[in-house]
């Protein structure tokens, strides 16, 4: 279908959920009320590592309104542990607690206040154990080994190859090597060697984690704000030892996720408590509890890069260490991806990569928008500017010289690069005014990065129902976290079917009604689910045309569908006329099914890359030399979206992602002390506000219709987070001559750097 003939795709139609969201009618899990619903509150460990000796819940159990006080032993489950990589995380801690904030006892009561009040009556005796509260401590000789045995989850195929190091806290060691490193280093004109640090972050999606569970004769039903309804269903089926068909996971609107609601979180506990008290149970965390549920990995990256005088990159040695906290969650895959992406989007003949995912006694770390790329890009793109400066080459020129070109392979056997990053970086550079004169204390910086998008071995199926009145129901397991998935998928369905956008309705995912989908992550919904939706719509369209062909006595190939009407010459039929004409009543429906099955198993990443999600960023900053404060005056983000299904929402995703990059660049960080999180909530954990919006924040959408998705689309939404920190760091270096290697670039850190360089007045 020629792009210029598109009528719904490529247009900034209003979001399907916009009306409900501006009127307060939108319903999230935390708004769910079931008859007879009870409420759970959790007693959490005050210490990072301890042996549990005894729990006395008798006084709490006798408190008014309390229905149950449960420890791990009281949960009616067949298996206590779960996790997407290893089954290492207990639903409630048993025998040992491994981080401060880990749930140990659950109280269920008739009201939240009574459950909360009863927590104070619980007496837990424990014996503190030595704790490892960062990755360095956890790798030191004699460090406490936090998990002595590891049970592989066996759910995701790419995780079959995990390489834990026995007897240590390393739960995954990713290695990759090509070329002769020693020779490349010997031949190089310059070798730079630096260590960069990226702190742990809190997702702080505004809606904290919440799950409502009901267990009855029909099975287990859980309403949850999860990004992975089908994997959660599988975990629940295993935990309760019931068939998949007996577990129903329903996902209404989600109040933000950013990876923090990937995979199974509090759903098993909510379901186990509901089974225990034989009433529906609501488990709603506070924002501070959410910060004690999942984090973004803190990462230390050591990079050694060998380069020729003309700027040609010869070799890169990457040593990446991730603090994954007390339970692996998806950390092993984040480590693999962080390692594999650490060299950057360049043509580098010689690589040596080691990435270690390390257990510590911290809050578990998992997925967070970008999956390791923001952390390693902070290192690799900062160092590219260091090299440019040392060689006296313009940073844009140096990047342009080494960037992979369209069609080049990042890793032999994997999908070649499907975009033109040098062009995208050039667009961002031009938009920021690269090379134009600047006033004192101002500087500009660039960065670029890419990640394999679309998910790893990720299946998606969609169903399209065309009702007897011509209205359309699109069933898709992609969850609406705010990214606009429902709207984009409806646009793809409408365009493919030839019906008006308004004809399509997209209900909330429900694992008992909606066909299978791997999950909503990795910028995959528009591309991968989009292909399934387009296939389902095409299937339905062909059935419709076949039915209409009979009614119109013409071959299907001679018919067209536009605006919900099927035409042959001057004769037209509405979809309603076709369907009721066929079924002979005002009823019946046409159903199309489409499935995306990923390609062959190949490439060092453990899977064929669906598409490359590339991000290019350019920043202009102004530095206050006296206070060290960095003001981002302009920020430009460029995203290669192939074909924007909804340009406004694409740009909006990219802008929001850019701000989620600016926050950690300048001020966001979790502060811990001996395993205690000191800033769990928003008073002391700073997220971007209106005051941080640069004078200009622009997103450039690059559209060449060259993506593998429907209409040439590629996924977007993560790439905007990749580049902000290094682009800002590079701009600071060019503004005032100091380079920071640890994030965030707080005023104090910048000031210290200026003082030690003698550059602060």
């Amino acid at each position: 279908m020629a792009v210029d003939r598109l009528t719904v795709v490529g247009r900034s139609v209003p979001r399907l959920d916009a009306h409900d969201k501006v009127t307060g009618a939108a319903r999230y899990v935390s708004d769910f009320i079931l008859p007879g619903m009870a409420h759970a509150k959790l007693w959490r460990s005050p210490v990072p590592h301890a042996r549990l000796l005894a729990v006395d819940g008798a006084r709490a159990a006798a408190a008014p309104g309390v229905l149950a006080v449960c420890t791990a032993d009281d949960l009616p489950v067949k298996r206590l542990a779960y996790g997407p990589a290893y089954k290492d995380q207990p639903i409630l801690a048993r025998e040992v607690v491994r981080y401060a904030g880990e749930p140990v006892v659950a109280v269920v009561a008739d009201t939240p206040a009574r459950a909360d009040a009863a927590l104070a009556l619980i007496d837990v005796r424990y014996e503190e154990l030595p704790a490892a509260t960062n990755a360095e401590e956890a790798q030191a000789p004699g460090a406490p080994v936090i998990h002595t045995t590891l049970d592989r989850a066996g759910h995701f195929r790419d995780l079959d190859g995990l390489r834990p190091v026995a007897g240590t806290n390393v739960c995954q060691h990713y290695r990759y090597e090509r070329g002769d490193l020693a020779r490349a280093v010997a031949e190089a004109d310059l070798v730079v060697d630096d260590v960069y640090r990226y702190p742990a972050l809190s997702h702080h999606a505004l809606e904290p984690h919440c799950a409502v569970a009901r267990v009855d004769a029909d099975g287990i039903t859980v309403w949850s704000g999860t990004q992975h309804p089908f994997p959660v269903r599988k975990d629940l089926a295993e935990i309760f030892d019931v068939p998949l068909a007996h577990v129903q996971v329903v996902v209404p609107l989600i109040g933000g996720a950013f990876g923090g609601k990937c995979y199974t979180k509090i759903e098993p506990l909510a379901a186990a408590l509901a089974a225990r008290v034989r009433r529906p149970v609501r488990l709603a965390l506070t924002l501070e509890e959410s910060a004690r549920t999942i984090t973004r990995h803190s990462v230390v990256v050591r990079l050694r890069t060998a380069v020729r005088r003309d700027g040609t990159l010869l070799a890169r040695e990457c040593d990446v260490v991730l603090d994954t906290g007390a339970y692996a969650d998806i950390g092993p895959r984040v480590a693999t991806k962080a390692g594999s992406r650490a060299p950057g989007p360049y043509r580098i003949p010689c690589l040596r990569i080691d990435a270690r995912c390390v257990y510590t006694n911290n809050v578990p770390a998992g997925a967070y928008r970008g999956y390791g790329v923001p952390q390693v890009t902070w290192a690799s793109e900062s160092q590219i500017d260091v090299i440019a400066e040392r060689l006296g080459i313009d940073p844009f020129t140096l990047r342009e010289r080494n960037l992979l070109k369209r069609g080049e392979e990042y890793v032999a056997g994997d999908t070649p690069l499907d975009g033109d990053m040098a062009d995208g970086l050039g667009q961002a550079a031009r938009a920021i005014g690269w090379g134009a004169p600047l006033t004192r204390n101002r500087g500009r910086g660039l960065a670029c990065a890419m990640k394999d998008g679309g998910g790893t071995h990720a299946v998606s199926t969609a169903v399209v129902h065309i009702n007897a009145d011509g209205s359309v129901i699109l069933l898709s397991g992609s969850v609406e976290v705010g990214q606009g998935a429902r709207t984009a998928l409806a646009q793809i369905a409408a365009e493919t079917l030839g019906v008006p956008f308004e004809a399509v309705v997209v209900p909330a995912p429900d694992t008992s009604l909606t066909p299978y989908d791997h999950g909503t992550s990795a910028s995959r919904s528009t591309t991968v689910m989009g292909l399934a939706v387009a296939a389902a719509a095409k299937d339905a369209r062909e059935q419709l045309l076949a039915l209409a062909a009979k009614l119109l006595d013409a071959p299907p190939s001679a018919l067209t569908i536009r605006e919900g009407k099927i035409a042959h010459g001057n004769r037209t039929l509405t979809l309603a006329e076709v369907i009721s004409g066929h079924f002979g009543l005002v009823g019946g429906e046409v159903t199309g099914v489409g499935t995306f099955v990923p390609g062959e198993w190949s490439g060092s990443l453990g899977g064929a890359t669906v598409f490359w999600e590339t991000g290019m960023g350019a920043a202009e900053v102004e530095v206050d030399r006296e206070t060290g404060e960095v003001h981002v005056r302009k920020y430009v983000s460029a995203a290669d979206v192939g074909q924007a299904i909804n340009p406004r929402e694409c740009a909006a995703q990219d802008e929001g992602a850019a701000m989620q990059g600016i926050g950690p660049a300048l001020f966001e960080a979790r502060v811990g002390e001996r395993g205690q999180l000191l800033n769990p909530g928003l008073i002391d954990y700073r997220v971007p506000t209106f005051a941080d919006l640069p004078e200009a924040l622009d997103s450039l959408l690059i559209e060449n219709a060259d993506g593998p998705g429907p209409f040439g689309a590629k996924g977007v939404g993560e790439s905007g987070t990749f580049c902000a920190a290094p682009a800002i760091g590079n701009a600071v270096a060019r503004a005032v001559g100091v380079r920071l290697t640890e994030l965030p670039m707080t005023p104090e850190r910048v000031w210290h750097a200026l003082v030690s360089k003698g550059a602060s007045p």
Binding site: I683, P747, E748
Partner: protein, 292 residues
């Protein structure tokens, strides 16, 4: 979550004082509640009785005295001070400071008296008001006293209020002619990290009076009289070196502590920077008002 408590709604200051006396440590004055209810929700403190003073007549409101003093009822919300024309005309530094306290919702509900009595170290009003030589009126049943604001603060979250005393009014005397006050703050968390208030009075090209107060840095906001002395009687044109010296003295005297907001060393540095910037802005404000 909030634990249950009893609400007392006295009709007068005397009655409020009586309630405090009767319930002792189990009672606390409740005004805007933006600090108190927050701390109680977090389970950091609890009181069985909250004594609501917002219903006591006469405790809220702003007026100008005949001598130009600003009289602020203790239960006046920040937002009123931010927007009151007499405040923005006669005490623009106070209006500007108030416009930057927390966020608009906290300013609508939180009161100036509540802010001062809670004595949260990371707060703005306590520092700026000291450079006006503000006083506070403390009342109890059968008595009242007026003390300089700087004496109210004893330590973090601690004031000199007696158990049955209430802060009822803040009085801010006007600055002398050819004066200006400026408050500058710095920080990147929700609460301020460093705040410096400066008031300057000029005469014959000299600094006739300089007042400096520093807040948020140490346990209590305080006047910096040794630093002020460095600027006193200096020629305006030649204040650069004295300012640097005053900044160093104020920094040392600020009792800076290291916390999530930053190191003591950095905060001391910022005291010097903000002091100089505030002083220069105050000089510019005096010059500006004379040009008009």
């Amino acid at each position: 979550m909030l634990r249950p408590f009893e609400l007392c709604e006295p009709a007068s200051v005397a009655e409020a004082s009586e309630l405090l006396l009767r319930h002792g440590e189990a009672a606390r004055i409740y005004a805007g509640g933006t600090e108190l209810i927050l701390a109680m929700k977090e389970g950091l403190i609890h009181y069985d009785y909250l004594v609501n003073v917002k219903t006591v007549p006469g405790l809220a409101g702003v007026r100008l005295d005949a001598d130009g003093s600003l009289r602020i009822g203790a239960a006046t919300p920040h937002r009123v001070l931010e927007r009151d024309p007499s405040v923005s005309e006669r005490f623009p530094a106070i209006a500007r400071m108030e416009a930057d306290v927390a966020n608009v919702r906290v300013r609508e509900v939180g009161t100036l008296g509540g802010n001062l009595c809670f004595a949260e170290p990371h707060a703005d009003p306590g520092a700026l008001l000291q450079v006006f030589d503000a006083t506070v009126r403390l009342e109890r049943k059968g008595g009242a006293r007026t003390i300089p604001l700087e004496r109210l603060f004893v330590g973090p979250f601690e004031t000199c209020l007696e158990g049955d005393e209430l802060l009822t009014e803040i009085v801010v005397p006007p600055l002398a002619p050819r004066s200006a006050a400026v408050y500058l703050k710095f920080g990147f968390l929700e609460r301020p990290s460093v705040g410096v208030g400066v008031a300057v009075t000029l005469a014959d090209g000299h600094v006739a009076d300089a007042r400096i107060a520093v807040g948020s840095v140490g346990p209590v906001p305080r006047r910096m009289r040794d630093a002020e002395a460095r600027l006193q009687d200096r020629p305006v044109a030649d204040s650069e070196a004295a300012l640097a010296e005053a900044g160093r003295i104020a920094a040392r005297a600020s009792d800076a502590i290291t916390d999530l907001h930053g190191s003591a060393e950095y905060k001391e540095h910022l005291v010097g920077v903000l002091l100089r910037r505030a002083f220069q802005a105050a000089l510019a404000a005096v010059a500006g008002s004379e040009r008009r």
